[in-house]
Structure formats: C-alpha cells, structure tokens
C-alpha cells in the first residue's frame, strides 16, 4: 500500500475513534436521562435524536453544512469568536461521524441502563453511597456489556460513514478523505485494485474492533 493509502487508513481509524470518544459523555448522560426519568419534551428529544438514523445521511450532511458553514449560525460564531473553520476540514469529519453514530450509542446505552435492576442502585444508596459512586461502581459496570456494544456500533458506523461526511467535509485527499470516500473515488476512477486493497483494510479494522471488545468483556468477566 502506498503512503497515501496508509494515511487514509490512519486518518479514518483516528477520526472514528475520536468521534466515538467524544459522544461518550454526552451519549451516556442522554441515555441515562432517557432510561431513568420522565421529563417534558422527552419524546421530542427522542425523535430528534433518531433523525440521523432515518434521514438520508446526505440530508443530515446538508443540515450540518448549513449550520457549520461560515455563513451558518454556528459556523459564523466559531469563525468570528475562535477563528475556527469547521467545514471541509478534519473537524467536519469528526462532527459528521459523531452526529451519525450518536443515536446508535444512545439506543444501546439506554437499553443497557433500562435492563439494570434499579433496586441494586437503591440499595447501594442505603449502604451509604452517593449517587455518583453508585453510578461508577454499580450502574456502569453492570451496564458495561451494553455500553461496549453501543461503542462498537458507533465506531463501526463512523468507519463506514459516507453521505454526511462528503457533504460537510468534502473528499480532500490527505485532509478529509476517509476509507469509504477513498473506495468510492477509486472505483469512480477505475482503480479497482486500490479500491479492493482499501476494502480489505476496512474488513480488518471492523474485525479488530469487534474482536477487541469481545476480549475486553471476557477479561472483565473473569476478573469478577
């Protein structure tokens, strides 16, 4: 593989991992609130959250482009106050991947929290634990299987993201080109051998992610 192709592989793995880590705190909090509490506008938030799942990714990408472009409300703010440009940079890739994979993580995490017997958390409180300690020592470990599964889903979604990324970040070689974008471009240019190479790498990456998390969970199960 050429240096250029390796760059694409590293870049894709890196932005996918970064977006997965970035959605973690926000996704956990959201999943927790959805699983445990009833609040006004809850169903509105739920619907809004599922939109990236049901809308064409390109449409989601267009919304992000409008929002984050220099003339968009968020883009203008970032440009004027922080001198930060988002669209057509690696940051746009991370934003697109995060938005597209957040709903998948929240769904898995929410189910994981809901399946947990709330009695365990309540009794932990009567044993003197603060809500934060209960969350760290009871909720998170017991929900870990579902949470890790959600993270894999999110990571896999990020690896394969195409539509939203190309809208908001373009396909700039060496800057915003990810595996999916590069495979598409290679096929377009008739460079099937390159496309197949990148395809092989995608399979290996996905396989490694799933296997890695399996091993992690098994190790955890043995420890306790």
């Amino acid at each position: 593989m050429s240096a250029e192709e390796w760059q694409i592989v590293w870049f894709t793995a890196w932005v996918s991992a970064l977006s997965t880590i970035l959605i973690l705190p926000f996704g956990l909090a959201l999943a927790w609130l959805l699983a445990r509490y009833d609040w006004p506008a809850k169903s509105l938030v739920e619907t809004f959250l599922s939109l990236p799942l049901v809308m064409p990714p390109v449409a989601t990408g267009l919304i992000l482009l409008r929002l984050l472009g220099r003339r968009g409300p968020l883009g203008a703010f970032l440009h004027n106050h922080f001198d930060l440009d988002v669209v057509f940079t690696w940051r746009a890739v991370v934003v697109a991947l995060s938005v597209m994979s957040l709903p998948l993580f929240v769904r898995s995490a929410r189910v994981a929290f809901q399946e947990l017997n709330p009695r365990l958390e309540q009794i932990a409180r009567t044993l003197g634990a603060t809500p934060f300690r209960v969350f760290l020592t009871i909720t998170l470990p017991l929900a870990s299987r579902g949470l890790v599964a959600g993270m894999i889903l999110a990571f896999a979604r990020a690896l394969g993201e195409f539509g939203a990324t190309i809208m908001v970040a373009g396909n700039i070689p060496g800057k915003t080109s990810t595996l999916s974008l590069a495979i598409y471009q290679n096929v377009q240019l008739g460079q099937d051998a390159h496309a197949l190479q990148l395809l092989g790498v995608s399979v290996v990456l996905a396989f490694a992610a799933v296997l890695g998390s399996e091993l992690l969970l098994r190790k955890k199960a043995r420890k306790t």
């Binding site: 017997n117 365990l120 009567t126 044993l127 634990a129 306790t224």
Partner: protein, 358 residues
C-alpha cells in the same frame, strides 16, 4: 427503637398509603397481605420513595418532614435495608459486597467489627466466592451482613425468609435472633408469616390496603384482633358466626348453631348480639376417651376429620357441630393414636374464645 411515622401519605397505584404510628419494639413486624403497601412503607422510611406528606423521626433525628422541607438522603439515613430480592451486587464477590457499605461508614460510628459480623452470620467460608453461586440461605446471610456492616440505626427487612423453605427458615431465624440480641439494632420486619412473627417480633402493625388496621404487642394482636379482617389475616383458624344468648356473672354464653359456648367478654361493653366466634388452633386441647371434669369451661364432643403434619406439629380438623381446628405436637398426636373418624373431646378455656361484633 423509637420510630415515629406521622401524617405519612403516599399515593400508590390502587390506594393511598396512610400511616400514623409510634413504634418502639426491638423487632416490629409489619404484617399484611401482598399489595397492602408494606414494601412501599419500607421504601419511604429508607428515603427511596418520596412521600406526599410525612414526618419521620428515628431516635432524636428527623429524617423527613415535608412541612419543613426536611429530607435526609438515603445514603445519610443510616438505615440498613434488605429487600425481598436481596439486591446483592452480581458483579462483585461476597467480600466486596460486604465491604461496599462498610467502607463508607466512618470508624467512630462503627458499632461492631467486620470479623464479628462475619463470625455471627457464619460467612467466613463464603467470603471469596461470587454471589451468583451462593444458595438461597447463604445469599440471605450475606445480604444481612452487608446491611449490618454499615452499623445502621435501624434495619429494614422485607420478607427476608419468604423465598426459603421451612428447613432453611428454621436455620436462619436463630441468626435473626442473634442480630436482635447481640447487636441490638431495631428492625422493621415485613412478613405475612405467623411463625416468623411469633418467633421474632415483640410488636406488630397490621397493614390493610395502605391503612393501619391494628398496631400493638404481638400478644395483644393475636389474642385480641380488632376486627374480622385482622383475625382472618392472622389466620385465627376457627371463625364462626354466633349469637350472644346471655351474660351472667361476667361470663357470656354464645350459641354457634346448636352448640353452646362460654366466653369471657374482653370488652365489658360488648352489647352486640351477633358476633364472630374466633378460636385459635393452639388454644384447643384434645382428650381421648371419656369426658372428665376440668377447669376448661367448654367441652365439645367432636369427630376427627383429618390430620395434617406441619413440621413438628399436627393440625387436626374436627367436626363438633361446626368445623374446629386444633394444633397439637406430632408427639401428642402419636401418643393419643388419633386417626380420622375417632371420637374426641375438645377443651377450650373460656378466655380463649374471642368475640368480635358482627
């Protein structure tokens, strides 16, 4: 213990839980059918369920006073809670389950050492195991120990023995008695089992559809149930409709069908003509052969219908003009060679015939 529950109101699915009680026993049993609000009451005391209104005071400390916006959070109440499903943490070993609450209790407020609790509840051999592969009785002891290790000022036990068979129950009860006597921690003990109540409690509170039907000493409730619902709940075995024939020299003559019984009126002002006659099975004495004079005022000739073994006891159903239940030791039953069809005499002392106005 002195636990004051005042003006306590909690809306539940089918009714409102309303409790007004001052509890002072070492072990207070909360007795009632399932769905009466017993667990909800424990949850409110533990601070796990909010009350619409409540004043809860344990010892000198106010835990909840809705009128003054006082609410002590569950982790600061110092109340141990063993729920019905025990809620052992499945991802932690027995040892780490036990230490979970122990660690958050500061040294000066610890009432007893880790080793002492482990010793009393005989947990030492289990300590390195995972909680998921413990037996029912072992889990029960671990859950009890975990709650005790926080040095609670009150222990809430929700049907702790309900899921255990009779053999295991009789093995766990001595542990509870040891907790009561050695650690001196007051307990609120939810059950609908008479055997546990009589073995452990000194005070009880009967809850029916969210309301306190009766509260008082165990002795008092079992011998003088306030109404038919309480009598039925405490399984006073024989309840018959009767009518008061006369009151003479402080004794009351009651007719149940064609049978005449002598009772001592518990309430001097009992003027009702129609009553329920309640007789507890353990208050019935059986005599085989000829009737002989005795101090018991009621001698009923009866025919044995059936005999059912209940652990060390035997329950004998009799027909004596109405159906009467008697509880004997198995040994007595064998010595008397009682079998179905035998003619016997049932003796009941007048004070053991309890009357509730209809």
């Amino acid at each position: 213990m002195s636990l004051t529950l005042s003006n306590l109101r909690v809306a539940l699915a089918n009714f409102t839980l309303e409790v007004e009680a001052k509890l002072g026993g070492r072990i207070t049993v909360i007795f009632g059918p399932s769905g009466a609000g017993k667990t909800s009451l424990l949850d409110v005391v533990a601070g796990l369920r909010p009350a619409e209104s409540a004043f809860i005071q344990l010892g000198g400390r106010v835990l909840n006073d809705t009128s003054k916006n006082i609410f002590v959070r569950p982790n600061r109440r110092n109340i141990g809670y063993v729920p019905q499903d025990l809620a052992l943490f499945p991802h932690l070993s027995v040892r780490r389950n036990l230490l979970y609450g122990h660690k958050s209790t500061r040294d000066p407020s610890r009432l007893f050492s880790f080793d002492h609790v482990i010793d009393v509840l005989e947990i030492q051999p289990l300590i390195r195991r995972g909680v998921t592969d413990l037996s029912g009785g072992e889990k029960q002891r671990v859950a009890l120990a975990r709650a005790l290790l926080t040095s609670p000022r009150l222990l809430l036990l929700d049907e702790p023995l309900a899921s255990l068979d009779l053999k295991l129950k009789t093995r766990i009860i001595p542990f509870l008695v040891r907790i009561r006597d050695e650690f001196g921690i007051p307990m609120l003990y939810v059950t609908h089992d008479r055997f546990e109540t009589l073995a452990l409690a000194d005070e009880m509170l009967v809850l029916l559809d969210g309301k306190v039907a009766q509260a008082g000493s165990v002795q008092q409730l079992f011998s003088h149930p306030a109404n038919l619902a309480v009598a039925g709940l405490l399984t006073v075995e024989t309840i018959q409709q009767g009518s008061v024939a006369k009151i003479e020299n402080g004794l009351m003559t009651v007719k149940v069908g064609s049978i005449t019984l002598t009772a001592v009126p518990e309430q001097p002002n009992l003027h009702a003509r129609d009553v329920y006659v309640c007789i507890r099975a353990e208050d019935v004495i059986l005599l085989k052969g000829h009737d002989t004079p005795s101090s018991a005022r009621n001698h009923l000739s009866a025919v044995v219908q059936s005999i059912t073994r209940e652990g060390p006891l035997a329950r004998v159903e009799l027909e004596c003009g109405f159906t009467l239940s008697a509880l004997l030791t198995k040994q007595a039953c064998e010595e008397m060679e009682i079998k179905p069809g035998d003619r016997v005499v049932a003796l009941i002392k007048a004070p053991h015939i309890h009357l509730i106005p209809r």
